[in-house]
């Protein structure tokens, strides 16, 4: 029989989306002086809210508010007190988790299953983890009394809006810095809800400031002379610009940039779990993941079998309404991103790779792209080199472990990699040779506040998470 799952939508009524949002500066929502912009629901293209755009003056105000809070309140505050604020925030995130998850899915397009089970729990965990560091910094290995840097300008991407906010704000605040954070243009809503959480937690005004806008706002923030530290997650191109603009200043930088991760499947892998890991590696969050396993490297002896299983599995992926609790793959975040994915996928076909997607009906409105795998891909193809940032997998084959490692490392990126084999020594041999900051062996796309994350080479520098994640916010 055919077992059809009836629609199981999470109710959007839990979220009260206001018609317009201002900037969060000095503990208050204030007007922006740029031309406001709209945030749309990528699943149906409806306008969710009008968002203030911060111009240079607004950024200046936010940095000044952060500076004042740093000098008068947050910097001098004992770590144990800062810790309690962060614990409070962690608890409020847990209490408002449903609201945050729904809002994230509406604004970003990601399935509610992921925002509910992955993003938001990790956000709470991140604040909880770094809260505990705030009064223990002298034990972190950066000297007996490491000092904060001051004001951190933080620019985050649209793929994990709230989670990236947590990755930025939690360690910064734990170390005694204050922040001005700019969420991505297409996904500002959960950051603005987070501002409300800061108020509920009675966080002193100016410790967290949120400025919304596009690239110009980000540039104004990154280049602001009153910013002591710039933390950026996003594309390698923008990361380069930020690194350039910081040249000749005393600003400290943490950059978490693009990736083109190899997911290596050896012939002795636990194949069903490998297939699951491959699927999770590239279709998690519609492939909008910098560490996505976008290059599948399969040992030739099992390539055919693996591909067959992969296709079968892909055919069970449920693409559609992000708020449906049974959706596996949601909407592409924006029209611009969809255009880029299409352009690269077309290039893949034009370059001779074979394209396959399971039969799947895409909603008529919104931005959608069916899960896609390319076979017959060569290292020289654009789809094997460029970050697609979408649900598009490129499958290549290899014959020997050496060849796998060589191909895996043959990229200017170095963020993550996957290894699938049942042989322990081969895992360690391979992990040691992969030039990537995160190596998942017999698993993929796992994140934890205790686990450092960050790239080699052009995937950026600095680590977020764990003890290592403190370093970027301390004058060590």
């Amino acid at each position: 029989m055919v077992f059809e799952y009836a629609p199981a939508p999470e109710s959007a009524a839990i979220v009260d989306v206001r018609p317009s949002y201002g900037l969060f500066v000095g503990g208050e929502f204030t007007d922006g002086h740029g031309e406001p912009f709209k945030s749309v629901n990528p699943a149906d293209e409806t306008v969710l809210a009008e968002i203030a755009r911060a111009d240079e003056g607004d950024v200046d105000r936010a940095v000044a508010a952060a500076r004042t809070a740093f000098e008068r309140v947050w910097g001098p505050m004992p770590g144990a007190e800062r810790a309690k604020y962060l614990y409070r925030i962690a608890r409020i995130v847990q209490e408002r988790s449903r609201e945050l998850a729904v809002l994230e899915s509406i604004d970003n397009g990601k399935p509610i299953r992921e925002s509910r089970d992955v993003d938001v729990p990790l956000v709470a965990a991140h604040f909880f983890y770094y809260a505990g560091w705030a009064d223990k910094l002298g034990h972190a290995g950066f000297g007996p009394d490491p000092r904060p840097l001051g004001v951190a300008g933080q620019i985050i991407p649209w793929n994990f809006p709230l989670l990236m906010l947590a990755w930025k704000i939690a360690p910064a605040l734990a170390c005694g810095n204050t922040v001005v954070l700019k969420p991505a243009e297409t996904t500002p809503l959960t950051a603005l809800l987070f501002a409300d959480i800061c108020r509920q937690a009675d966080l002193p005004p100016g410790v967290v400031n949120i400025v919304t806008g596009a690239g110009d706002t980000g540039r104004a923030l990154a280049e602001h002379p009153g910013v002591d530290k710039v933390a950026f997650t996003g594309s390698t191109d923008v990361g380069r610009q930020i690194a350039r603009s910081a040249a000749g200043t005393a600003k400290r930088l943490t950059l978490e940039l693009g990736g083109k991760a190899a997911n290596i499947v050896f012939e002795d892998a636990a194949l069903d779990q490998a297939v699951e890991g491959v699927v999770n590696g590239i279709f998690f969050n519609q492939g909008h993941v910098c560490c996505a396993g976008s290059r599948l490297l399969v040992q030739e002896s099992v390539a055919e079998e693996l591909l067959e299983r992969l296709k079968t599995r892909m055919a069970t992926l449920r693409v559609g309404d992000p708020l449906d609790k049974n959706t596996d793959v949601g909407a592409i975040n924006s029209a611009a991103q969809l255009a880029r994915i299409r352009e690269l996928a077309d290039a893949g076909e034009a370059e001779g790779a074979e394209r396959w997607s399971p039969p799947c009906e895409l909603p008529p409105q919104g931005f959608w792209f069916a899960p896609t795998v390319f076979t017959g891909v060569a290292q020289s193809h654009r789809i094997a080199r460029e970050e697609i940032f979408g649900p598009v997998l490129s499958m290549l084959t290899f014959r020997t472990p050496e060849e796998a490692v060589t191909k895996a490392n043959n990229t200017p990126y170095g963020l993550s990699a996957g290894i699938w084999t049942e042989k322990g020594s081969r895992i360690l041999w391979t992990a040691q040779r992969l030039r990537a900051g995160v190596v998942w062996a017999n698993t993929f796309n796992k994140f934890d506040p205790a686990s450092p994350f960050g790239g080699y080479k052009e995937s950026g520098f600095g680590r977020e998470g764990g003890r290592h994640g403190l370093e970027g916010y301390l004058d060590a």
Binding site: D117, D268, A270, E276, E422
Partner: protein
């Protein structure tokens, strides 16, 4: 009993192996199972939200897959007859409720059950082969099986020799299954792996293939007498095995999780697992069973809730 001649291993087998060494090599050559990954996959499928019309459909399907079971030392003819009555009319107040798939009893109760179920179309399944431990001479196991079949059992639920399996005597396990299959005649053979004693999912996969190659019509997780009984990860691995086995040989084998399935929610999780692992071809009582008894009343209660909108109480459903 001679060492297995795999070429003769039941008419249904497409076995081409020639000896125990090759059997062992074959089973060891199966892809491994990563326990954490398999558990994650099962847990994720368990988060599927089955509501409204899908839930109604799932409840009826689950009821129709139940092997209503009583396997107690204290079983009596009265107890078995009561169970049979329940099997035929799970909810006396609602004739639209489907009947269950089978009634599962000890061999000495088969004739009671067969008579009680006469005309209902419900088959009688009998455990056999010195259930649940399987610790008896093969001759006794075969006699047990024949007695049940002669008494009218349409299905035999045998247990494998876990001791032999764990000690590496795979030929013994294979031979016993083949011999019991032979003794079953026309009766369907369900092979209980007792996964709670096999300890690892690698063993579950190997035992699944071993049973299928030896002629099993169904592979079943547990006797219900050993904890843990059926679990989602174990069933996931078995569903993968039957899927792969059909792809390799063309022969479809059924799956039966048994023990520990108590709520509608549990039952629906198993159906989702079937749907998204082995596929819709297994979504019928012919290919998937739920070995349980207490789950039936919960299914009935949920069914009533969907129909009336009000939560019913346990007093409105029969305890047999």
């Amino acid at each position: 009993m001679p060492v297995a001649d795999f070429g003769d291993a039941g008419v249904v087998s497409t076995e081409t192996l020639n000896g125990v060494a090759e059997l062992r090599a074959f089973l060891r050559g199966l892809p491994g199972v990563d326990e954490v990954g398999a558990s994650e996959r099962a847990a994720r499928l368990a988060t599927r939200s089955i509501k409204t019309s899908a839930k109604a459909e799932a409840i009826d399907l689950a009821i129709s897959m139940v092997d209503l079971t009583t396997l107690e030392g204290a079983d009596t003819a009265g107890k078995v007859r009561a169970l049979c009555a329940k099997a035929a009319h799970p909810d006396p107040a609602d004739a639209s409720v489907p009947r269950v798939a089978a009634v599962c009893v000890y061999p000495d109760m088969v004739d009671v059950a067969v008579r009680a179920l006469d005309g209902t179309g419900i088959g009688v399944a009998s455990v056999a082969t010195a259930f649940p431990s399987g610790r008896a001479p093969l001759a006794a196991k075969l006699a047990d099986t024949r007695a049940a079949v002669e008494a009218g059992a349409a299905e035999i639920d045998m247990v494998i020799d876990r001791g032999a399996f764990l000690s590496g005597d795979l030929g013994k396990v294979f031979d016993e299954i083949a011999a019991v299959k032979d003794a079953c005649g026309a009766a369907h053979l369900k092979v209980i792996l007792e996964t709670g004693e096999l300890a690892t999912l690698d063993n579950v996969r190997r035992a699944s293939w071993l049973a299928m190659r030896a002629g099993a019509d169904f592979i079943k997780t547990s006797t219900g007498k050993v904890a843990p009984a059926a679990t989602l990860p174990v069933t996931l691995v078995m569903l993968e095995a039957v899927r792969d086995h059909r792809a390799a040989t063309g022969r479809q084998v059924g799956v039966k999780p048994a023990g520990g399935i108590r709520t509608t929610k549990d039952a629906v999780k198993y159906l989702v697992l079937v749907n998204e692992t082995a596929g819709p071809d297994w979504l019928s009582p012919e290919w998937f069973r739920l070995g349980a008894s207490s789950v039936l009343n919960d299914l009935l209660m949920q069914r009533r809730k969907l129909a009336t909108g009000a939560y019913p109480g346990p007093d409105y459903f029969t305890l047999d």
